[in-house]
């Protein structure tokens, strides 16, 4: 029987009005979250926004001052960590140094009274799932950081928990391994079908892996939606500015669109309906083309080659800096100090009052 078929289906998880304070600091300020069975939700936010505290409250590693944790329809707020049936992968390497990879994976099974032969079999299966079957007799100090996190993932999954919790598991790894392991985590999560809460401060990681991304601010979820919705239809200026880059350009609003740099930009719900406002425009909605100095409205300040695409920074006549994401060919055609025309594509954007 394969790991995927033998693992039970995911369960629904609800965090209801969680509050948690550390002295004067309110880490969680009435945070609520509903996760559907088998869903992967990523909590994203700046440092100190409460995302890790939320995950730790769900794991039982922190006690909430108020609110409830409901898993599979049962309130588990008062259960200790070891009774919550959750697998967790930590930011710091957490393999038990005195045990081999296999013994680490077997640890949770041993506590559940699984007999020796079954333990060995299941440990081998899960180590195989994370691609480390041939290294099962290695100790933590004989493995790379990426391998250690894979074993930690296998260890968390081997106990067949109700919920998988991932607390910035990739942040200690180098960029290439991070991308590989990120994709692998998603593959395994889909294969196993386990409800997963993933905490990170890396936007790219969040957008790449999540079914839904919850952007947190000051102990609450500011917006939770599918990655493309979060990126293209931010509901607040915080979400718009936290996810990806944005240009803050002043425009005049009338009848559902804004006039910015002479271009009409459709506005997202939640924007002001009239008057002057700041429109939050994504760099990929900005076009920069060479222009005659007489008709140009900006000057190129910097150009950066980023591989598949390039990034150009231009200064408008009113001294505002605009960032544009262009193709690498278009970027190469521009030089520093060159007069250019900055135009905006009609991509819906959020506007906020000045």
């Amino acid at each position: 029987m394969s790991v995927a078929t033998e693992t039970r289906n995911g369960v629904a998880v609800s965090l209801e009005g969680l509050r948690r304070s550390f002295g004067d600091l309110h880490a969680l300020n009435g945070m609520s979250l509903d996760m559907t069975p088998g869903e992967l939700v990523v909590l994203l936010g700046p440092s100190g926004c409460g995302k890790t505290t939320a995950l730790r409250v769900l794991a039982g590693l922190e006690d909430a001052d108020a609110g409830a944790v409901v898993v599979g329809g049962k309130d588990i707020s008062s259960l200790p960590t070891n009774k919550r049936d959750m697998g967790m992968v930590f930011q710091a390497y957490s393999l038990f140094p005195h045990m081999t990879a296999r013994q680490n994976v077997e640890f949770g099974l041993k506590l559940r009274g699984v007999d020796s032969a079954a333990r060995r079999k299941r440990a081998a299966e899960y180590l195989d799932l994370v691609g480390l079957a041939i290294q099962m007799d290695r100790y933590a100090h004989q493995m790379s950081g990426g391998q250690q996190q894979r074993v930690a993932l296998a260890r968390a999954l081997a106990i067949q928990p109700q919920v998988l919790l991932l607390d910035e598991p990739l942040s200690a790894l180098d960029a290439k391994v991070r991308v590989q392991l990120r994709d692998e985590i998603r593959r395994i999560q889909l294969e196993v079908g386990i409800t997963t809460l993933f905490v990170t401060h890396d936007q790219e990681e969040a957008l790449a892996i999540a079914d839904r991304v919850g952007v947190m601010r000051a102990g609450k979820i500011e917006q939770i939606d599918a990655p493309e919705v979060i990126y293209n239809n931010p509901e607040t200026s915080f979400v718009a500015e936290f996810i990806g880059s944005t240009n803050r350009l002043t425009g005049q609003i009338s009848s559902g669109s804004a006039s910015v740099l002479g271009c009409a930009v459709p506005l997202l719900p939640g924007s002001p309906t009239s008057g002057s406002a700041v429109v939050l425009v994504r760099p990929e909605a900005v076009r920069i083309v060479p222009a005659d100095p007489a008709t140009a409205n900006a000057t190129v300040v910097t150009t950066s080659f980023l591989g598949a695409h390039g990034r150009v920074q231009a200064r408008l006549r009113d001294d505002t800096l605009v960032i544009a994401q262009l193709s690498s060919v278009a970027t190469a055609a521009l030089g520093i100090g060159q007069s250019v025309a900055v135009e905006l594509a009609p991509v819906a954007a959020l506007a906020v009052a000045e």
Binding site: L61, N82, F96, P97, H98, Y139
Partner: protein, 295 residues
């Protein structure tokens, strides 16, 4: 006014040249000096440690007439069977000391490891006060300690017995500073918070965390704490003597009053016993490292 930087005449256009390594002869002379220095240090240390040991051996076997015999060693060699007063005294003292070692180590480990672990995990603010309390016995002379302990031990004698084994309580206090330092270093070497949280999330109880995760990972520190405590308990004289209890050191003292040579021999044996134990403990401490290196 403007200044111009001109290249000094005769300079070459090439960059700075790498520093030359010292000539071979100079390096050889430096290495010779280092070897002489090392040999001198080792010789001094060996003389410092072994002159008293050899003197003890010499004193315990030398006769006034100029010859040598092993008569003073007989109470020790025949310790298990001999019926003379010296052997009886040594036997009783040694058994008491061994019992005290076991009891003191047990109290020290049971008291310190869970407390230190708990403080690190739950109340890190208490680390400094805990350290202060544990180091306190270092600053209190044994004689002062005994003055304070005498009334307690009087009550203890009425309550339990006058047996020497109850010295384990005061010995547990005396070994605190040394054991604390060793265990603290061991706990510092592991990320105890993450490891315990990982174990808890996998279903382990707090007892399980302590037994399955903390203890195996601070094994070397425990062994080191045990050795230093053992050495202290085996060598303790003042408290036992002032509280009128019997242990190995008081036995040596008593035997020494009637037979100084046997006391010297006994001191030598006690020291050798300590060395053997050190070797055994270091062997256990290194055995895991050896296994890891092999794997």
């Amino acid at each position: 006014m403007s200044t111009t930087l001109t290249k000094p005449s005769g300079s070459t256009p090439s960059g700075p040249t790498p520093p030359k390594s010292p000539p071979r002869k100079l390096r050889a002379a430096r290495a010779r000096k280092q070897i002489i220095f090392r040999v001198a240090i080792v010789t001094l240390v060996v003389l410092f440690f072994f002159i008293p040991v050899i003197s003890l051996l010499d004193f315990s076997t030398r006769l006034r007439s100029g010859g040598r015999n092993w008569v003073s060693w007989e109470p020790i060699v025949n310790l298990a069977t001999a019926d003379d007063p010296a052997s009886k005294e040594i036997r009783a003292g040694l058994l008491n000391s061994l019992g005290l070692v076991a009891a003191t180590l047990a109290i020290m480990l049971v008291l310190l490891i869970p407390t230190m672990t708990w403080i690190r995990l739950r109340v890190p603010a208490l680390r400094r006060p805990m350290e202060f309390i544990c180091l306190l016995p270092l600053t209190i002379p044994a004689i002062v300690l005994v003055v304070g302990l005498a009334p307690i031990y009087r009550q203890l004698s009425n309550l339990l017995s006058t047996g020497s084994i109850w010295l384990c309580f005061v010995y547990a206090v005396l070994v605190l500073p040394f054991a604390y330092r060793s265990l603290d270093a061991g706990l510092d070497a592991i990320d105890i918070r993450t490891l315990s949280e990982a174990a808890r999330s996998l279903g382990s109880s707090w007892g399980g965390v302590l037994w399955n995760i903390v203890l195996p990972n601070i094994k070397t520190a425990i062994i080191s704490a045990c050795f230093i405590s053992l050495a202290l308990v085996l060598g303790e004289f003042t408290v036992a003597n002032l509280l009128a209890r019997k242990n190995l050191q008081t036995a040596i003292f008593i035997v020494g009053q009637s037979n100084a040579k046997t006391a010297a021999a006994l001191a030598l044996v006690a020291m050798a016993f300590g060395f053997v134990l050190l070797f055994v403990f270091s062997f256990f401490g290194n055995s895991r490292k050896g296994r890891k290196a092999k794997s």
